[in-house]
């Protein structure tokens, strides 16, 4: 438990460091390129909260959705993808510059969400 907390703290600090303009510099690792969300949309929480808490929010929601059938709740991976899919690739994790992939590559946190979940919003995916 203590280790988990420490890891979370470290991850949070790394993320905060990498996102603060004060540390901008030419490191070996390309800084995350964070595209703006789709225009006219409002995130479910402040960016600082989202950066730190989004894994917990999604992990909690996934159980409600899969087991309880509750869809359309506040935290939803589909809703993240709807707003944050890249305008160029149409995806959140297809290329290194896409929303989820760029930051996770920088923070060296490997996620396996997209081994099963589609990285594209519904309207793009249904196109032939």
């Amino acid at each position: 438990m203590r280790e988990t907390r420490l890891l979370r703290l470290l991850a949070g600090l790394t993320l905060a460091a990498c996102l603060s303009p004060a540390t901008a510099g030419d490191g070996r690792t390309p800084r995350p390129a964070i595209d703006k969300a789709r225009a006219g949309t409002q995130c479910v929480a402040e960016p600082a909260v989202m950066r730190r808490e989004h894994p917990q929010m999604l992990k909690h929601q996934r159980d409600d959705t899969v087991h309880g059938g509750i869809r359309g709740a506040k935290a939803s991976l589909k809703a993240c993808i709807d707003c944050h899919a890249s305008p160029t690739s149409g995806s959140v994790a297809q290329t290194d510059k896409d929303f989820c992939a760029s930051c996770h590559a920088y923070a060296a946190v490997r996620i396996d969400c997209f081994e099963c979940h589609s990285t594209k919003p519904q309207r793009v995916a249904v196109k032939p």
Partner: protein, 266 residues
């Protein structure tokens, strides 16, 4: 001198002290904790179920309704031999391989059966039977295989370790294992390598308030109308009226696992 012994509830009651309030409070606290962790308060009574029953149902996003038992009625006398519209629709709806190989996942398949003595042939769509007592759930070592309160049997891919015990346990061969890395999944139907999967009764549609499955739509569109989806618990629903009027069977009813899929004309 002996240590003072705290009075028992009976002694407190005799002296007029309030005892009921404290014990009731203690019991409620324990009950709330038990309910929150999904434990039974009494046999068959759980807080989570009474809370869900009290919540408004039927609307999209309300969650699975414990009063509902989703099921299918398949009329094999209307099912055309060689027609695979339901299978194709299932594959398209759920993002399965449109041209399946022997190792592709298969949620629905057509089985042609023949009674040897009479030579009578039937064409039967086979899929997860959404049992009330699912053997796949019994054997799952991680709890990934589960039954929703509305009777839909699912695999939680977040928990599935791909051991395939459930595939062995299923008497209907309804489940498939995903052997290879997948791409281009449907946003509503996440699927991936290393997990077992099967028919979900189009749970993503049902949760959004739709009342049909992809296979039923395809069968109706093809003019056969052999598949009816609905709530077996609702006496007014088409499926409940049909099973009340005409003879239908559950496959391997001898196993007493009470499938939610029933067949007519077998």
């Amino acid at each position: 001198m002996s240590a003072p012994v705290p009075p028992t509830d009976e002694e407190r009651r005799a002296s007029g002290e309030p005892v009921a309030a404290t014990t009731r409070r203690r019991w409620l606290g324990a009950a709330a904790a038990a309910g929150a962790s999904g434990l039974a308060l009494a046999p068959g009574v759980r807080l989570i179920e009474s809370a869900r029953a009290a919540a408004p149902q039927g609307a999209a996003g309300a969650g699975a309704n414990p009063k509902v038992r989703w099921g299918l009625l398949i009329d094999t006398t209307k099912c055309a031999s060689g027609c695979t519209d339901c299978v194709d629709a299932c594959n398209a709806e759920n993002g399965l391989d449109p041209r399946p190989t022997p190792t592709s996942a298969q949620w629905m398949r057509k089985v042609e059966i023949k009674e040897i003595k009479t030579g009578r042939k039937s064409s039967v769509p086979m899929l997860c039977q959404h049992c009330a007592e699912p053997p796949c759930v019994d054997v799952c070592p991680t709890g990934a295989s589960f039954k929703r309160v509305d009777g839909i049997v699912l695999v939680d891919r977040h928990i599935c370790i791909g051991c395939r015990y459930c595939m062995m346990a299923c008497p209907y061969k309804a489940r498939s294992f995903v052997h290879e890395t997948l791409t281009e999944q449907k946003p509503d139907v996440p699927r991936g390598k290393g997990c077992v999967e099967s028919c979900t009764l189009c749970v993503h549609r049902i949760d959004q308030g739709q009342t049909t499955t992809a296979c039923q739509d395809a069968c109706t569109r093809a003019g056969h109308g052999a598949i009816v989806f609905g709530d077996l618990n609702d006496p007014q629903s088409e499926i409940a009226q049909r099973v009340r009027q005409a003879a239908s069977v559950q496959l391997r009813a001898d196993l007493k696992i009470d499938p939610g899929v029933r067949y007519q004309g077998l």
